[in-house]
Symmetry: C2
């Protein structure tokens, strides 16, 4: 942790120094062998498990300050660490150590008719600016993923977690030095001044990518101000469409899971679409179950008729990511109407169909233009671990570079290496 008296007076100079050191660390880290990065990950996991007291003390300061400024109980819970959560943080580092290294990975090899051998090889993106809100586990996760993928990272956490983030960062940094890796491969913006973010977002020659993770206003600000590419998602307005040919008991299970298992996540369902031909059977059943799980229902006219406890939805409801135990519900006439509704109101994040008709399933997956399209599975499976990428740094709803969960490979680019033997072009 840098003491405030060591900070350069000029915030812009501070940011330039951070970015310059990150660039130089990134060049070194790009060449680091896999075993060294893995040893670092395992040593950090061990340090976090063995040195719990200073972390928990720093965290207690943040929690006390958060309570005194009146943060919500949910926010304080997200901020709070305990021995069990520290073990989970350490375990996630161990999982990253076990994943294959995307740097140097040969993604394609071809031999051209003239004998040239063309290799497409994974290389790091360079310097990543990661801006996130209060959960301190994200500090460690992001650093682990960036370093394993050969990238230097500048971490900018929420001010509520500043003491916790500072001590975690100090541990990660010490271990970098001990493992002959550049200590400035992981830096924490050593001030909570909001203007620092503004300066960093303009440094497109020094920072290759910015990843914002948090509320919509944070992501909006970063998208507007960033001069470099941004990897992000705004909204997760995810749908479950129960088709005319759905297995209705499967549909019940999936709708309940998609809405209730973790309603605060971006891949939780926010809207249920039900084909008219099964509405009279399905809606009263699922309505009862959802109400029993504490879910508030906001539906179309037909929904309200079939589930009297539902209240009328307005058009805005269908566009809203509730992140809460609220679900909008609409009875629709056809597959076409379901797809049109998803395109008009959705956010291209995750949309599911429940059907036993293979042609309808095929049509839905072909036409729905979302990062992940599910057949007979919960929307909650759009997740780096669940889809087999290992850990993830976030989920992208952008079309450029990476779509869906972003893991180690999505934090890299590639170069072509071409082997000739005196080849020239005629």
């Amino acid at each position: 942790m840098i003491a405030p008296s060591d900070l350069p007076n000029d915030l812009r100079t501070l940011c330039e120094q951070l970015a310059g050191r990150a660039r130089s660390a990134a060049r070194k880290l790009a060449q680091a062998p896999t075993f060294r990065k893995n040893h670092w990950l395992l040593a950090c996991a061990e340090a976090i498990e063995k040195q719990q007291s200073p972390i928990l003390e720093a965290n207690a300061k943040d929690v006390a300050a958060a309570s005194s400024v009146g943060l919500t109980a949910a926010a304080i819970d997200r901020l709070t660490l305990n021995p069990q959560r520290l073990r989970a943080i350490a375990d996630s580092l161990r999982q990253v150590a076990a994943l294959p290294d995307p740097v140097g990975e040969i993604r394609e090899v071809t031999q051209r008719p003239n004998g040239l051998q063309v290799f497409k090889v994974g290389v790091p993106l360079g310097v990543i600016l990661f801006i996130y809100e209060s959960r301190p586990n994200v500090t460690v996760d992001a650093a682990g993923l960036c370093v394993k993928s050969g990238n230097a990272v500048i971490l900018r956490g929420g001010k509520e977690a500043f003491h916790t983030n500072s001590i975690l960062h100090e541990m990660l940094r010490l271990q970098l030095a001990e493992h002959e890796l550049p200590p400035e491969a992981v830096q924490l913006v050593p001030t909570t001044d909001r203007d620092a973010v503004g300066y960093l977002l303009r440094m497109k020659d020094e920072i290759d990518l910015v990843i914002p993770r948090g509320g919509k206003s944070l992501i909006q600000r970063v998208t507007t101000e960033a001069a470099m590419p941004v990897l992000k998602h705004f909204d997760g307005v995810c749908h479950v469409y129960v088709d005319a040919a759905a297995d209705l008991s499967m549909a019940e299970k999936i709708v309940l899971n998609a809405k209730c298992q973790r309603p605060g996540t971006c891949n939780a369902a926010e809207c249920l679409l039900v084909h008219r031909s099964v509405a009279a059977t399905f809606l009263p059943r699922i309505g009862t179950l959802l109400l029993a799980h504490g879910v508030e229902l906001r539906g179309c006219h037909e929904t309200c008729r079939l589930i009297p406890a539902a209240r009328a939805a307005c058009a805005d409801d269908y566009r809203t990511e509730y992140l809460d135990l609220i679900l909008s519900v609409k009875v629709i006439e056809s597959l076409d109407e379901a797809i049109d509704h998803i395109h008009a109101y959705g956010s291209h994040h995750t949309d599911a169909i429940i059907t036993t008709d293979i042609r309808t399933a095929h049509e839905f997956t072909r036409r729905v233009d979302s990062a992940a399209v599910m057949i007979n599975a919960s929307t909650r499976f759009n997740d780096g671990y669940e889809l087999g990428l290992g850990a993830e740094i976030g989920i992208s709803t952008d079309r450029f570079h990476a779509r869906g969960p972003c893991g180690l490979r999505e934090l890299t680019t590639y170069k072509y290496i071409v082997h000739g033997n005196g080849h020239i072009r005629e």
Copy 2:
């Protein structure tokens, strides 16, 4: 071609209409089967070959206007079409038809331990704005690549080629309609007003990607103004490094090819680095050859001593993309110095080493951070066709999304399709 009287009065409205129609065409085109896109490509090739007269007449108008405003002979040559060039344009469409369709391509399939099947499937980016300068063949090439990859394209060519582009566009559009493809999948900005570009570059919700191709000022303007991602390269400051262990006759052949075969291209060499231990042997030989090919040499002190006809280079020379028969030359002391020079002065486009030492070759390819790194081959091979991608829409020196030559696959993104059987998350 839209007659000027049909243009909406308001330029912004015109641009919004263009973009809106492109979005709606893109949704339809994304679902078009491969055979239909290929039939369209082949029919366009035939139309261009069979209807040469109206194309050549329109082109003659552009050429006459260009001569009267005093365009350079080289620029007029690039603008001019003739029967042979029309055949080449038609052939390039046939080549695109023969390439595999990246849309619907299954890029990865995994089965998760819980039985979920995860497919990663190619899908179009959406709407592409393509801004380019005078060569009319680019109009047809870009339209062919965009449509084959399922994208709608808005073409904005140079005003010098407006009549030629308009008639070519009209042919492409007619064939779209004849092949049951959305005619507005290929649109040409129907005005040469520069402000139209400004409006289009702000429409980030309607346009998914902009590709500028042309001079540096065009690319600079687009990069500064675009609200959506940009795929581009600024400079091709490409190096050939002749190592201490180089086969010097191979080095001669490659240096000559890299500099002289087509000096106006972005992958032509602009700087020759020669290891001191071979400089006294190699530089006088290559100097004589290059001078005989009309190449002007700008060298360091040692180069000027060994090649008296070379003039002294300034630091700016080493940063310059000459795109002409000029080469900067520097004698260096070590592989490290070569790599440092390439990082300090290069543009991360294409850099080559000539060496027989496998360890030096490995070190060079590992550490040089360019889109393409060549061993014992001419820099001229960094090209979509030569590297096996088929045709290309441009070469990217960005790190994000695609690096190096961008072909059909680089014009797409992907989505995850997940098959379950009632899967829920626990």
